[in-house]
């Protein structure tokens, strides 16, 4: 285990272990040290989660590059997402370039996956259950018949008994659907099926049967990442050029390889870092890429959860969570356009304009400035009132109660997602009860119990001091001046960042401090790494994470530099049994 964290982080970790000891004393069962919060920021098994000494990290903070560490991802399969399914099917008609150029809307048999662990991309979550299987069957049948009709309309039907012609059609479809040429054993299998199918069902229906079979094959339904046959002396194998092409393409555009990438794979021209860099730079400039970044940011900031927090119409009649989420989605797109290639993370945390419309203006305290019927537009809020993602009303609503703010969850979000402190769930059997509210008491007053009660404070001291700095915003994101008749107190303390404890006043100041923090950029890289690699980080990923972070920082926070480095890394390219 890498032991040499920054001083503040090390102290933090010690504090957390104390927290577990304290909590363990009052919680009846099932709460072990394994559940302890760690400063590693990874999922269980992330850096810093296991014991052992190690050299000091080169760039300090979350990552340690241990000499001799052997990084790789297990051989795996990864079921296509709904969009990936649609885009891949679309290549049958539109060709390989179409999905990266146009928005494909084609039915998919898959639903959006429930989020298991941190991100929806985590490959282990993607299964084909019995109910999904029925839909896969239906979809395959529909697509196959549609494709055969399309071939017929294009005068590309094969003459009766011409199995050579028919198999050429199968091969072409298979290469698009499998994202690789057919293997010899598959050649034999599909030739046999074609012969049997045409005999049983006739020429066109026989062909449709084989196309349907391709659409039911795991090589289509899953992204298959097995690597080549030969192993290196550490027991790892590199992905084949076709697998690399698919991995890069689906990661960057949610689509299978376009024509240029396909040709590069055919020519085995994805073997060097320069080869990969050129392809990543090219694909990152395509319109489809922006969508994948937006999906990452949505899951990273989780502002869509605003829709799941009930608000009473009588209390906040203007509040419309769906519109607020849409505002933030548009805002993220704007930040991406303006800062995606330069100071991206800092832009996300400190961009000082907002997207607002007439119907959402009250949440932004801009009802006087924005006409009630105004369409969404980019404006600068006065007095630095809305700086960065943390001041977005959708985000603030998502981390609120129905009728009150929730400093604990707001603080926890920052701790976990920006500082990579992993905080365990509320222990079973512990019923959190704050002192009764009075007309004069503020939430800050009532939360004092968290620092007075031993069973609470070890964990809450990592969340509450940060979250209380958000108290200038109410439960739907409006700026407020008073609470309980008293002037609202927006003082907070940033715990667990580069400096152990750093006071701040309000969210704008917090955002600036976070935007300047090396630890925050490392944490961002860690989450990006997990999202695009589709798994939690491991100890052996330290060198790769460090290299990706260095590339991100040196480029001035260019997200394409981050992805280029990530897609050239050993965990991305190598597989272990």
């Amino acid at each position: 285990m890498p032991m040499k964290f920054l001083d503040g982080v090390l102290k933090l970790r010690i504090g957390i272990l104390s927290c577990v000891a304290a909590c363990g004393g009052v919680i009846p069962n099932g709460y072990t040290e394994d559940d302890a919060p760690t400063a590693s920021g990874g999922d269980r098994g992330g850096e810093g989660s296991a014991g052992g000494a190690s050299p000091a990290p080169a760039s300090g903070g979350l990552f340690t590059c241990e000499r001799g560490s052997v990084a790789a991802t297990p051989k795996r399969i990864w079921r296509l997402s709904p969009q990936q399914y649609s885009n891949t099917v679309e290549t049958l008609w539109g060709g390989r370039d179409r999905p990266t150029k146009a928005n494909v809307e084609r039915p998919s048999p898959f639903d959006d996956e429930p989020v298991v662990d941190r991100f929806s991309t985590f490959s282990r979550a993607h299964l084909i259950s019995d109910l999904a299987f029925g839909r896969v069957l239906d979809s395959a049948s529909r697509v196959a018949n549609e494709y055969v009709r399309y071939l017929h309309a294009q005068h590309r039907s094969c003459p009766t008994n011409d199995n050579v012609c028919a198999f050429a059609v199968v091969q072409e479809a298979a290469e698009k659907l499998f994202r690789r040429p057919l293997q010899p054993v598959e050649d034999d299998q599909y030739k046999k099926l074609l012969t049997e199918g045409r005999a049983l069902l006739g020429d066109e229906q026989g062909l449709a049967l084989v196309i349907e079979s391709l659409l039911l094959a795991p090589s289509f339904l899953y992204r298959v990442e097995l690597g080549r046959d030969e192993l290196d002396d550490t027991g790892r194998t590199r992905l084949s050029s076709y697998e690399i092409a698919s991995a890069i393409s689906y990661s960057l555009t949610d689509a299978p390889p376009d024509e240029a990438l396909w040709k590069a794979a055919q020519a085995n021209a994805l073997s060097t870092a320069d080869d990969i860099r050129a392809q990543v730079q090219r694909l990152a400039s395509l319109p489809a890429h922006r969508n994948t970044v937006m999906l990452f940011l949505k899951e990273y900031f989780r502002h869509s959860m605003a829709q799941d927090v009930f608000k009473d119409d009588k209390q906040v009649p203007f509040h419309d969570a769906a519109l607020l989420i849409d505002d933030t989605d548009r805002w993220l797109a704007e930040v991406y356009e303006q800062t995606g290639r330069d100071q991206f993370l800092k832009g996300l945390l400190t961009f000082d304009q907002v997207v607002v419309r007439g119907k959402t203006a009250p949440n932004y305290n801009l009802e006087k400035e924005i006409a009630a019927d105004a369409a969404p537009k980019l404006v600068r809020a006065p007095d630095n009132q809305r700086v960065g993602m943390l001041a977005q009303p959708s985000f603030l609503t998502a981390l609120s109660h129905s009728e009150a703010t929730d400093p604990v969850r707001r603080g926890r979000f920052v701790a976990e997602n920006l500082l990579c402190v992993d905080i365990p769930e509320l222990p079973i059997g512990l019923v959190p009860e704050l002192p009764e509210a009075t007309a004069e008491s503020t939430l800050r007053d009532r939360l004092k119990q968290h620092v007075e009660d031993d069973s609470c404070k070890a964990c809450h001291k990592l969340m509450d001091p940060i979250g209380l700095g958000f108290e200038g915003y109410d439960h739907v994101g409006r700026i407020r001046a008073t609470e309980g008749g008293k002037p609202v107190n927006t003082q907070g303390v940033l715990v667990g960042a580069d400096v152990q404890e750093e006071p701040f006043e309000g969210v704008a100041q917090l955002a600036q401090k976070l935007g300047d923090s090396s630890l925050v950029s490392q944490c961002f890289v860690r989450h990006g790494f997990s999202y695009w690699l589709g798994r939690a980080t491991e100890d052996s990923d330290g060198c790769a994470l460090q290299a990706v972070h260095d590339a991100f920082v040196k480029s001035g926070q260019d997200h394409v530099a981050l992805l280029t480095s990530l897609f050239s890394s050993e965990p991305f390219l190598l597989r272990r049994p």
Binding site: N29, G30, Y31, P74, K75, R76, I77, R79, D111, D112, P114, V115, V116, D117, R124, A125, H126, L127, I128, S129, D130, L131, A132, F133, G134, R135, L137, D138, V185, Q189, Y190, L193, E196, G197, L200, L201, L209, E212, S213, L216, A217, P218, S219, Y222, V224, L226, R302, M305, Q307, D308, V309, F310, D312, E425, L426, I428, G429, P577
Partner: protein, 488 residues
């Protein structure tokens, strides 16, 4: 038309319905009309040897089954109070009483009053949002990720329906039939076959119809279709087997799930083909998936599930209506409000913040409607004999909410209705049974609290899946096994 063959290993002796009498006895509205032709075809042909089996039905509706507003018999109104009152003053005594007025929403099942239990006080205190326990309602385990708690996932362990299905669903075409709906597509927030393994439920009546009865009603010649399907499935299984050899165990698991789905499908098809329905008639009316009237969707799905139970296609049924986050996911009911105080508003509200004066009658209507559909199912199954008993004689049906005792649920008490005695294995004798809370101040009641998981162990045991400790996969639980007050 060839002579009908027995349906799988679990054979149903169906009553000799005429089409007309069947419709009358089904008693469903839209659903029955849509399914009448196929119903007749199936039931009339599913004759065979007698072999009894046990069945279990789990039905949940969101927004809470309010412990005092809806569930508590009027004689016990003195107990109607806050959770705190419940903790300190509750002095109902086991083994319960049968002298009470049936709560309003249970009117449709009053004829089976002596074969039901109303159980209150069981604890299911797992971490969750206050608006839904999600999978925890039936699994009694905590989700491994509370980030999406309001949105329902992921499951912390197997749910009781699937636990039972693993035992008594092994030899049926469908190990279980799960259905339901809510506002969002991702309605799958209730059923699970294990930790991190959500078990999807039908949300689309069309898809449910096609899966359950499609191969019988298809226009293609059955033999040719079967041969075609055989070619496809064999090719697919060969592909899966080839890939499986190259993967590590964790990755193989994905293909195992995939392969299990293929095999389930094959089993279903084989089982249905064995029915030898030579000329099945397609439904007269297409079931429109976009119907926004919850009552219609539920009626059609319940009628299909009832038919599947009647014909031995499954032994386990699960229904989840408006489950999950009980604000945004709760679809207003739009038919049952007619003639009530809610008619002017156009629907029955279900949000839960309206207070007793609105919320009690609203939820009485909604729960009453759901119970009415269960009553119709029981009515039909009580007419179909298996051996010397009816299917109803050998089954148990459970009705509760994924949100426990209220719109804002605490998990301290979990009202639940148990219908049926599973062939005499349950002491379902009409009692109102209240377990003391963990925090009771009544000296004689201390330590007698029991978790909901123990009731689930009881039910599983009663239907032939002996279970001593259900719901222990998570961090929660001091389980003690089946409840002696319930298990015969």
């Amino acid at each position: 038309m060839s002579k009908p063959k027995p349906l799988g290993s679990s054979v149903v002796r169906c009553a000799p319905f005429t089409r007309r009498s069947l419709l009358e006895r089904l008693g469903f509205g839209a659903g029955a009309a849509l399914l009448a032709p196929i119903t007749q075809s199936l039931l009339s042909q599913a004759q065979g040897a007698t072999q009894t089996r046990k069945c279990a039905v789990f039905a949940l509706c969101g927004n809470g089954l309010h412990a005092t507003w809806n569930f508590l018999p009027q004689e016990f109104n003195k107990y109607e109070a806050t959770e705190k009152y419940f903790n300190t003053k509750w002095d109902m005594r086991l083994p319960g009483t049968t002298t009470y007025t049936l709560p309003t929403f249970l009117e449709p099942v009053k004829r089976w009053r002596d074969r039901m239990l109303l159980i209150d006080g069981l604890e299911n205190k797992i971490p969750r949002s206050q608006h839904s326990a999600g999978y925890g309602a039936l699994s009694c385990t905590a989700s491994p990720n509370d980030a999406a708690a309001e949105a329902g996932g992921p499951p912390g362990g197997i749910t009781i329906d699937q636990h039972i299905a693993q035992g008594i669903g092994k030899n049926t075409a469908h190990k279980s039939i799960l259905f339901g709906f809510n506002k969002y597509k991702e309605t799958n927030t209730i059923f699970a076959s294990g930790r991190d393994k959500p078990q999807p439920n039908f949300v689309n009546p069309n898809e449910m119809f096609k899966t359950l009865f499609g191969s019988i009603t298809g226009g293609e010649g059955l033999q040719k279709a079967n041969a075609r399907q055989r070619l496809l499935l064999d090719a697919m299984k060969a592909d899966i087997a080839r890939l499986q050899r190259e993967l590590a165990p964790e990755e193989k698991r994905k293909l195992e799930v995939h392969l299990a789905a293929v095999e389930d499908f094959e089993r279903q098809q084989a089982s249905l083909l064995n029915l030898k329905c030579d000329a099945p008639i397609a439904p007269a009316v297409d079931i429109n998936a976009k119907v926004s009237v919850p009552e219609d969707i539920l009626e059609s799905m319940w009628s299909m599930a009832t038919l599947a139970l009647a014909c031995g296609m499954t032994n386990v049924v699960g229904m989840a209506c408006n489950t999950g986050m009980s604000h945004q996911r709760f679809v207003p009911f739009r038919r049952i409000h007619v003639g009530t105080q809610f008619e002017a508003g156009g629907s029955v509200p279900g949000h839960g913040h309206e207070g007793r004066s609105l919320q009690k009658p609203a939820m009485d209507l909604i729960h009453g409607f759901n119970i009415g559909l269960i009553a119709k199912m029981i009515g039909i199954l009580s007419l179909i004999k298996e051996g010397d008993r009816t299917i109803w004689d050998n089954m148990v049906a459970v009705y509760t909410s994924d949100n426990g005792e209220a719109h804002h649920n605490s998990g301290v008490r979990w009202p639940i209705v148990v219908l049926g005695n599973a062939g005499g294995a349950l002491k379902s004798d009409g009692r109102y049974l209240a377990y003391p809370s963990r925090g009771t101040k009544v000296e004689a009641e201390k330590g007698k609290w029991r978790p909901l998981a123990d009731l689930y162990s009881t039910l599983a045991t009663a239907v032939g899946v002996p279970t001593t400790a259900f719901g222990t996969g998570g961090v929660y639980q001091t389980v003690k096994g089946p409840l002696p007050e319930v298990l015969a």
